[in-house]
């Protein structure tokens, strides 16, 4: 065996030895002999138990938090539904509304009264015209004599008495409350109404309209009856397009 041969052989055996040793160490994890006595063991046990307890506590607190979040989520869903319902009720006129607006009083012309004439009932046509005008100028909620005017409200002459949704409008002054979205609109509405045709129309029929200045809060009562829907059906939501 030449020297070179020997050296290369040696190097390779050295590498093999090294690799084997490492592999041996990796596979056979060094076995540490347990030399703890009873008291040490007990101490370690206590330590581990404490750790266990703290972990359990942490888990519990996390679970509680999860539960809390879960209930909050559910509640928030309910909250959203409730809010939506309230919104819809508000839109339908089933909720009391408060907002900026003006108050219009319909009075019979006092001079006529002096002359001894009886006051004619206010005609539904006039009131319709007034409501249309108010709507045109941005009124969002209207009540007449503390009766909420909603989409399905009717004003008609029943046996010589003008009634709105069955409520007679024969006591003067008739108070028409108009609520709008904001103060600016209330101002505009007030100005528009000052120069509107309604006042003249009313005057021809011996009524006078008096407008209050825009008020920051006008309270419109809720619609008192139940809304009956007869000719409406649930839309087929699946075939939407």
């Amino acid at each position: 065996m030449g020297d070179k041969k020997k050296i290369s052989m040696t190097v390779i055996t050295l590498i093999i030895g090294f690799m084997t040793a490492i592999q041996f160490q990796t596979v056979n994890e060094p076995i540490i002999r347990d030399t703890r006595d009873t008291s040490q063991l007990r101490e370690d046990l206590v330590k581990d138990k404490e750790l266990y307890l703290s972990l359990v506590q942490e888990i519990r607190s996390n679970e509680e938090r999860i539960e809390k979040y879960e209930t909050e989520r559910l509640e928030s869903k309910e909250q959203v539904l409730k809010e939506t319902l309230r919104e819809f009720k508000g839109e339908a006129g089933l909720e009391k509304y408060e907002g900026p607006g003006i108050v219009i009083n319909i009075l019979p012309v006092s001079e006529e009264l002096l002359l001894g004439e009886t006051v004619e009932p206010i005609s539904p046509y006039l009131l319709h015209a007034l409501i249309n005008e108010l709507n045109r100028f941005g009124a969002s909620e209207i009540s007449i004599a503390d009766q909420r005017w909603i989409n399905i409200s009717v004003i008609r002459d029943i046996n010589g008495i003008t009634k709105m949704d069955g409520f007679p409008l024969d006591r003067f002054p008739i108070e028409v409350k108009v609520a709008v979205d904001n103060m600016d609109t209330a101002e505009k509405l007030y100005n528009q109404m000052q120069v509107s045709d309604s006042a003249e129309e009313f005057f021809i029929q011996n009524f006078r309209l008096s407008f209050s200045t825009p008020q920051p809060i006008v309270s419109i009562p809720a619609y008192k009856d139940t809304i009956e829907i007869r000719n409406m059906e649930l839309a087929d939501t699946e075939k939407g397009g």
């Binding site: 290369s8 052989m9 040696t10 390779i12 055996t13 690799m19 040793a21 490492i22 160490q25």
Partner: protein
């Protein structure tokens, strides 16, 4: 003859004393590398005894086999097939063959020595 054995012992000592540990998931690679190295070593010894030893073949075979075995194991891990078993099988068979050849050569050498002694005695 004793120098390679000494090298093995030194390597073992070095490995144990350095206290190096590789991650368990790589122990497969190392084991196959050890097997490849052993195969090359015994192949080298056999070639030496047969008188066909080539330095270049030996050294290149050592490293090449190790790398090939490790890469085969790596490929096996990534393909989900235990390809390192193929390497283990191949190296294992060759190891046995090499050792068998070495044994025979040594036996025949020993018997020829005996014969020589016998012949010397008769003379």
């Amino acid at each position: 003859m004793w120098l390679p054995v000494l090298g093995l012992i030194i390597g073992l000592l070095l490995g144990f004393s350095t206290d190096i540990q590789i991650p368990v998931e790589y122990s497969n690679y190392l084991s196959i590398a050890v097997l490849a190295a052993l195969d090359t070593l015994f192949g080298g010894i056999r070639a030496n005894l047969q008188g066909i030893y080539d330095e270049k073949v030996f050294v290149s075979g050592f490293f090449f086999n190790i790398i090939l075995a490790a890469s085969l194991a790596f490929l096996g891990v990534h393909l989900g097939v235990d390809l390192y078993l193929a390497a283990v099988f191949a190296f294992g068979v060759r190891l046995f063959q090499n050792i068998a050849v070495i044994r025979r050569i040594l036996l025949s050498k020993g018997s020829s020595k005996k014969q020589k002694i016998y012949f010397k005695k008769r003379e």
